[in-house]
Subunit: 508 residues, 2 copies
């Protein structure tokens, strides 16, 4: 009996996949699989998508930016018109609350990003033209000449979706086609997004392969995809292990790949802040660390506290809050299993479990709110393993002997998306801040004062990036338009080229 698969979108056609396997997504709230079958695309299908994507890249390169902008705006409007469906789909596949999270926060953020990308496409600010009229040399940022592969994460089914999220919007704004590889946690949401995007692209008359959609490939085909001569670049958000494999393949081929992989987001709480507002900080920390069941790239998973009375009081109060809080539903079974593993790695590395540490029984995928603790000395004895990311409502509290030890701890940190310092609002510990800030600054993309790292504003000044292994390159951001667009561009210089032959962006 032939099985009916969800369709793929290749070269402008919704069609049955040339598949080599299939999979189902889970409903994490019910802890059971959703009865829709999604195909695993074959190498043949991936190569077909690359060929079509290369053609689309040539067409989009000279497409009027106004048409690109119109496409993005129409797509945003279609998302709004279909918000009900989308929220229901995403809730079913991700377990994230319909409201406020999906409907009132993430969906408006997604349409906002698309409209900001439209504005950037229209005003062309991402092109950064440079003219040397005397020498008749002109430079401009340009599309990559090949499709951008987008592999979105599981934790933002709209705002980082492969077919509607930040990487999609940035790639399209720079006039690159997109090959979306759905996150296998929410293939149905991605399919619906791709339908709306394709409808909008067709309405505006963009090349039919402006967006293509697949759900999954065999591992080695995925590695070939990101390193293929026809590919322009890849945007990946996900686990460090998958990211590093893709990075190695792309690097060997000299293909750009932008990755957001892992971050424990160190938070340094100085004694002055604890003295001033210790119990308020416990609430802030608890809220930030357990919000969305802790499944944010910027979750505060690593807190450095003084080993003082105030520091120990913070720990005690935090443990009470974490124990009292109801664990949220996780995005999937894999996330739950990963948390079991991460906590085991942290305790094996010398951390003491203060509360939680186990999966919650029941059909839904949940994990207990979890705190671990380690001394500064113990951390410094095993700094690599004690930076294991636990993607969920889990944090490691590090009790530091003194400022010098805090500096030593920070010098051993790997690259992170964010780093936070809480200090006395009256400036009582400014001298300590000045000592702690430099080593932290070098290890993070975004330095924060006096608030938790969750909540990434879509601002032109945002940096959602940071040193390896948080991302693959500390010079780029995945959030914040138009800056995030730069990832999907190449620098094109025109030397002595006749004026009528210059691209529109240089003639303007």
């Amino acid at each position: 009996m032939s099985q009916s698969f969800a369709p793929v979108l290749i070269a402008g056609c919704w069609r049955e996949s040339r598949s080599v396997g299939s999979f189902h997504a889970d409903n994490p709230t019910l802890g059971e699989s959703i009865p829709i079958t999604y195909p695993v695309s074959s190498r043949e299908e991936v190569l077909e998508a690359l060929e079509a994507g290369a053609e689309a890249a040539e067409a989009l390169r000279t497409t009027d930016p106004a048409a690109i902008a119109e496409f993005l705006e129409r797509f945003a409007a279609l998302i709004e018109a279909n918000a009900g469906d989308l929220v229901e789909l995403a809730h079913t596949e991700s377990g994230l609350p319909r409201s406020p999270r999906l409907k009132d926060v993430e969906l408006p953020r997604t349409t906002g990003q698309l409209r900001q990308a439209a504005a950037a496409a229209r005003d062309g600010s991402w092109r950064r033209p440079i003219h040397d009229a005397a020498a008749n040399i002109h430079s401009v940022m340009a599309p990559l000449g090949g499709p951008v592969v987008v592999m979105g994460p599981n934790n933002f089914p709209f705002a980082f979706n492969s077919a509607s999220g930040g990487d999609f919007a940035a790639a399209i704004a720079a006039q690159n086609p997109v090959i979306a590889k759905a996150n296998t946690g929410h293939p149905g949401t991605t399919l619906r997004m791709a339908e709306l995007a394709h409808e909008a692209a067709q309405a505006v008359g963009l090349h039919p392969a402006t967006l293509q959609l697949m759900y999954r490939t065999p591992r080695e085909v995925g590695l070939e995809l990101v390193s293929h001569p026809l590919v322009g670049a890849t945007g990946f958000t996900g686990s460090k292990s998958a990211g590093l494999q893709l990075k190695a393949a792309a690097d060997r081929a000299g293909k750009p790949i932008y990755l957001e992989m892992s971050s424990v987001n160190p938070v340094v709480i100085l004694e002055g802040a604890l003295q001033e507002r210790g119990s308020a900080l416990v609430d802030e920390f608890f809220g930030s660390c357990t919000m969305g069941a802790g499944q944010f790239c910027t979750n505060p998973g690593f807190v450095i506290l003084p080993d003082s009375d105030a520091g120990r009081a913070f720990v005690e109060a935090a443990v009470s809050s974490f124990k009292a809080g109801t664990p949220g539903v996780l995005l999937g079974k894999g996330g739950r299993d990963g948390l079991v593993e991460a906590v085991a790695e942290l305790t094996a590395a010398g951390a003491t479990l203060l509360c939680g540490g186990a999966a919650v029984e029941g059909p839904a995928y949940r994990f207990q709110n979890t705190l671990l603790q380690v001394t500064g000395d113990a951390f410094l004895a095993n700094p690599h393993a004690l930076q294991t990311e636990a993607f969920g409502p889990v944090a490691l509290l590090v009790l530091s002997r003194d400022t010098a030890q805090t500096v030593a701890i920070l010098r051993h940190m790997e690259g992170n998306l964010t780093g936070t310092i809480y200090s006395d609002t009256g400036g009582a510990d400014d001298a300590e801040y000045d000592v702690v800030e430099p080593p932290l600054r070098q290890k993070v993309g975004r330095l924060i004062n006096d608030k938790m790292p969750t909540g990434v504003a879509v601002s032109p000044a945002m940096n959602h990036g940071g040193p390896f292994p948080a991302t693959g390159h500390a010079g780029f951001t995945a959030v914040g338009l138009p800056t995030s667009i730069v990832r999907f561009t190449a620098l094109h210089c025109y030397d002595n080229v006749r004026p009528a032959r210059l691209p529109a962006a240089l003639r303007g």
Copy 2:
């Protein structure tokens, strides 16, 4: 008997190297080695330089940009004051003519670059600040937090020198210290440059490890250097084989590396241009391809011509010119041996030798002016091997059947620094230009009309970069200030940070 080695500059001290070997440079004009012994630095010495470089990075991060600028300007003045010595040293080590090349072209270019870098340091344009006052989020490009390793090429002993060239200037302008690894072809020139730079840095009171100097390391130590946790980034210009090894090591560690590795710089000459000014084009081509004995990254090593009467006449005339020209002195024995090998690879891949093809007898290192030829069909049968770079006065002429074949050839090109199209000045072949330009545009960093690719203007609009394997990333340029500085920066965001704690570049 103890042997006296040229000193290294580590952590602010000129001292004897903790060496594990030694080498001599050659005088390529005399074909004999120069009796000065240079050390091969040990792993221990490299780690010492990294530690000192990390300290310098912290100090330079908050150094007044005016002091950085003053350093660069003093250094430029010292170079001018010591021009005679420097020219003599560089001539001895490289065989390049004292005048006009070294004295009147490359030296002024080098001091010009340093002064442009000083201007960029002073005006801070490279920092690209972005303010979101309402959200209190601010971003700015910042130094990398670790030393920049510069490994310069053999062919520009001043302008791309590890201790005075474009990468050095760009890294310093962004307030990064530099660990210079001399090109082993001109260690004496590099030592003299480093002396002058160090003198200028000391006079201004910069951190003593602002510049450090080594000459050579064992291979595995070089790989460790570019991938070490303390390193900020690497700028490398040199051979593809060395570059790819360094790239693999740096990529694995997630350390930025900017490479300029190889380029055959395709030149497409359309029938209209041949009809209009064929014999003038032969002169242009001969001049560009044999200038500096052809040892330029932008040497026109790959020319696509129509297989027409005019195309064949061009070939015939070019062969006459190449045969009649006197081969220049090469930079070294390695370059001569590399040319023998490259020509053998090209002929083995199906190219026909039209003239030259062998080393010239005599003490000086020279190679005959060399032309090879291949049909479009033959090229398409073996496109990879027929793009082997021959770094010298050597070019492959490809006779293309028609425009469609030219497009097919261009689609098979690897990434290059430049691509040139010659066409009729009256526009007779504009339709053909429009077909040929798009596939060429995607494969090169700099698209040129109606002139040869040699001669890289130091202009803000220049792109001396291009798709892999010409470089490691098509978004960056190695020449052209302030744009080249971006390579040696990280994006730093400040979120809710108290105003007085923002860096000066964001407070201004």
